[in-house]
Symmetry: C2
Subunit: 336 residues, 2 copies
């Protein structure tokens, strides 16, 4: 590349576009279906049910402790597939680049995507790049869509949660949101908070291999644990009760939330798993989660019940009850 | 909605996000897998090979004669799947919205996507919406990714073109590019040029049902006919020769190109099909294309040959030869 920044010519479909694809994308995301460079990638798929998911990533800043927009875009879609119990197989990726993006940033992001895809066991088989003039986007936006295979004979979903189920979470809450906010605002910590961004398909396998009676899996991203539990309560028509004492947090996250007046229950997580499972299986699920590195801090945090359907209530440390509602709007924009 | 514009709160993952999804997206793109509102959509897929494709759409303006960014986003990905010979089944859609986008524009775009999906016989089963602050995007960007099923026992691809093959095109060239440019710049025509944006899967079926020996299907979008033929020539290691007289154009397209110094061979098309087929099957393919409304103006425009591998040459009207190279850069940004 004679220039070290993205230009409109890189998005033209002409020779510079082809060079960008060959030198950057195909090199970083090396696999056979992608290398054929046809309009779509052709791959083998066993018969049965498949899961489809998509997410766009607009996180600001694009690099943060523990990850970047590229690894996040792989983790996020891998996780959405894993939440249905699917084995993630293939991703597609669409880039919208702002004119002027340093090519070194693009290369770093692609390498990060490549590593994340390898770790998760997925292939990025199709891609697209558009370039928009300076000021018409913000550095880089990434969309990933994914295909997963449902190999297990189970049906998972928010609507399957039932009264009597236990609610578990795989580890500390609010890490990603705190990390992005601190990085964006230049807030220093003595102990910096890293994003928890990670692919959860391995942890999901550990849970599903070891546990019967799993009803719902969710990763509490945008809107955090509070919003995700509200979604499940509304989908299933159950109440959810959680114990404030049981929800795990990093000290630095709690500290920052106190200073800034944020509620960590609403902060995004990008590598945490919520499991809703039959009450009798709660300890089995907990042990299965703890057997995996990403679940070593797993906790039972509450239960689903027939009372107050559609609502989430927290039993507070001081013995009170607090309704944990969905936020109307935005606590923290561009978190993912 | 109490406001008539997109706000950051619509992208928060909180209650306003949920209302937007329920009132706009689910209503417009009504189907069962989508309505379940889980992290991924679960659908049935017969066994065999599947095709995957993705494209992001950043066209400016977002509404133009003959279509809008929504219908374009459906047509484009349906077409990429159809080019591999796949039957398009499912799409995912990711929206990046700029704060301040009128909700009426969003509704109009969603209705257009819904109609385009219905016409093409595909379901939009999963979606995602992000909102970025004013000035960090331009109104609306859409990504679609698609899954198609390869039901036919054929392999298509640019690499399969062979010396002796005929090259056909389904109709007039440069309509979409001219339409978008004229709309953007406010250039009036006595006969306005409409975009040709359309789903080509029906036309592809007509060709493949009626013709043996099809090697390559392509839709000449960004970079136009010239770039697409160059891609095929390079992938297959063949030369391609086209007849200037045989390439069909609308008068208004030629007129505008003359005035503005643009070459219509490089202008985008969003509803045109290139077919590369064994020479002996050329007339059969032509008849099959002309049997479909979107192929009624189909023409045989040239052939693949062993000479000048990787290059495209045009026999001009005046009896000369012109090398039709790939453009290095950008003739027309944000055309799709």
């Amino acid at each position: 590349m004679k220039d070290d920044k993205i230009t409109l010519d890189h998005g033209s479909g002409g020779r510079l576009s082809h060079e960008l694809v060959a030198e950057y994308f195909v090199t970083a995301l090396d696999n056979e279906p992608l290398k054929r460079l046809n309009d779509s990638a052709v791959v083998d798929a066993p018969s049965g049910r498949i899961a489809l998911s998509t997410d766009s990533y607009v996180v600001d800043p694009i690099f943060f402790p523990g990850g970047d927009i590229g690894s996040l875009a792989v983790h996020g879609t891998v996780n959405d597939l894993a939440m249905s119990g699917a084995r993630p197989l293939y991703l597609t990726v669409g880039f919208i680049l702002e004119e002027g993006l340093p090519l070194s940033d693009l290369r770093r992001i692609l390498q990060s995507m490549s590593a994340a895809a390898r770790d998760a066991g997925v292939l990025i088989v199709a891609g697209d790049t558009k370039v928009v003039p300076r000021g018409k986007a913000d550095k880089i936006f990434i969309n990933t869509a994914g295909v997963g295979l449902l190999e297990r004979d189970i049906i998972l979903g928010g609507e399957r949660a039932a009264a009597g189920d236990a609610v578990l979470v795989s580890g500390t809450i609010g890490d990603h949101g705190t990390c992005v906010l601190a990085t964006r605002e230049g807030i220093g910590f003595s102990t910096p908070v890293e994003s928890d961004s990670a692919s959860l398909n391995g942890l999901v396998n550990a849970v599903l291999d070891g546990t019967d009676g799993v009803h719902t899996l969710r990763d509490p991203t945008r809107g955090g644990l509070a919003t995700t539990l509200n979604e499940i309560a509304k989908q299933a028509g159950v109440g959810i009760e959680i114990e404030e004492d049981a929800v795990p947090y990093r000290e630095a996250v709690l500290g920052m939330c106190e200073i800034l007046g944020l509620d960590p229950l609403y902060l995004a997580n990008e590598g945490k798993l919520i499991v809703v499972v039959e009450g009798a299986q709660a300890q089995t699920a907990l042990a299965a989660m703890r057997s995996h590195p990403l679940g070593k801090d797993a906790r039972i945090i509450g239960k689903a019940l027939a009372d107050h359907p559609g609502r989430v209530v927290m039993n507070t440390r001081v013995g009170g009850k607090r309704i944990v509602d969905m936020l109307v709007g935005e606590q923290l924009p561009r978190i993912c």
